[in-house]
Amino acid sequence: MKRLTHPLSIDSLKNSQPAALLLVLIALTILWYLAAFWLNSDLLIKGYERRGMTWDVSRLISDAYSMKRPLLPTPDQIGYELYKSIFETKISSKRSLVYHSGITLSSTLLGFLLGAFLGIVLAIGIVHSRTLERSLMPWVITSQTIPILAIAPMIIVVLGAMNFTGILPKAIISMYLSFFPVTIGMVKGLRAPDTLHMELLATYSASPEQTFRKLRWPSAMPYLFASLKIAIAASLVGAIVGELPTGAQGGLGSRLLSGSYYGQTIQIWSALVVAAILGSVLVALVGYFEKRVNRRMGITG
């Protein structure tokens, strides 16, 4: 019994995604401007005082929102920078964020695919072999306690020596970060089937491979997608981390680095915003596949 509501009633507004999103965005923007003023004005006042300048509030406000290297740039500054580096520059130009996103995206995706594959394979091995579970599982976990940025330059040096350059070293770092959530999630997921269902297949004397295909894999789907979402975000982080020591050969990571190196906060933030958008698009993409798979498995809503 669905209640009918007027298309413009409060109720319908309450249930509309764009309205909710808009409200949240407006609230965030206001907060952002306030925070920018709060953070930047501190810096400005210090500067004024050092130089013994006189100042008033209106000057402070206008300065806080138009600093060249603010502590926190305003959304409009970032927006303008984004506009400049996305629409006003040729995509093939090294000053275009689209160009850099492309570089990062390619190693992210490659790393994600490798990582998801490795993660699933490891999980399958662990679920099916007690020996692997006992021997490998603790080291899968330990592997993640090794700080990747510490070994990233080494990986890049070693791979570089083996003449692997370009996106592969970065993709390997991405893989290193992204295989883990997949392994952990899938080990759990592949063990999620109902005892009764497992027993049912035992009565058919189904082979491990059949049990896997018919039962373990489908029951692991919710776990798989939850971990893939984390993995793809991790993969992006890996690609960007990988771009730091690869010696500024392009990509969002090197934009972040050089922005950071030259104190260009606006540049850092616009690279961050692009990275964030890229990340959420990737997560949404995984979510899209999840919905499709769910629909095929009869799960709606």
């Binding site: 009764l196 058919y204 489908p218 029951s219 498995m297 009869g298």
Partner: protein, 280 residues
Amino acid sequence: MSMTADVFEKSDVLAEFNPPQSARKMITIEDLSLVFETNDGPVNALSHIDLAIEEGGFVSFIGPSGCGKTTLLRVIADLERPTSGTILVDGTSPEDARLNRLYGYVFQAPALFPWRTIASNCKVPLEIFGLSKELQQQKTDKYLELVGLQDFHNKFPWQLSGGMQQRASIARALSFEPQLLLMDEPFGALDEITRDHLNLELLKIWHETGKTVVFVTHSIPEAVLLSTHIVVMSPRPGRIAKIIKSPLAKKRTLADRESPEFVAVMQEVREALANDHRID
């Protein structure tokens, strides 16, 4: 996969086959006990069970709730290991019997996969046994029709009523036509008429194919109507209180229920049950 073909060839042969007079034992259980260890002490689920089931027999387990019927059936199916005693299924260990895909099992709960439609659920064993797509479709159609779910092929389990789910799980167990049927209260969730109908269908299948059936039920008339032997169990520790051999002819109809022999057997079962009853 060769196993599968075997199972099917065999059952095709069996389709023209009359129940054997031979007394070859399908299941032999000797001095079998089973104890569950739980957080609060051991539970004696089965204790010193001795039982022999002939090939082609139809044996019902009946007894108070919690007396170990399901556990015994699970032991036969190699889903539970006995703590002591021996058991042979078709002359081999339960494990080998299971690996030979000797039996079909209907669980007390439907145990359907929520991500598959009803028809697709029915096909699970057929896919596993490697049947051709056509044969899968044919068997599925046949047995879903038998249980009256012909209109529900494309529904998901949670779109079905409890009884319908149970019927789907029966169709699934019948679909690959196993030698031995292990059924745990298969008709418990069904109304009388549907139940009668399925009782007759089961009798017909049993009769025509010479399968061995081990059947758990709470309904005394049902047990009497279907079985060649009725095993009355008593609870904690689960023991066999009495084994009642049915004097009824192999071929039965619903009308038999009015016969004096039938009523006499019912009475016997009821007494055996009441004798040792305790609710727990």
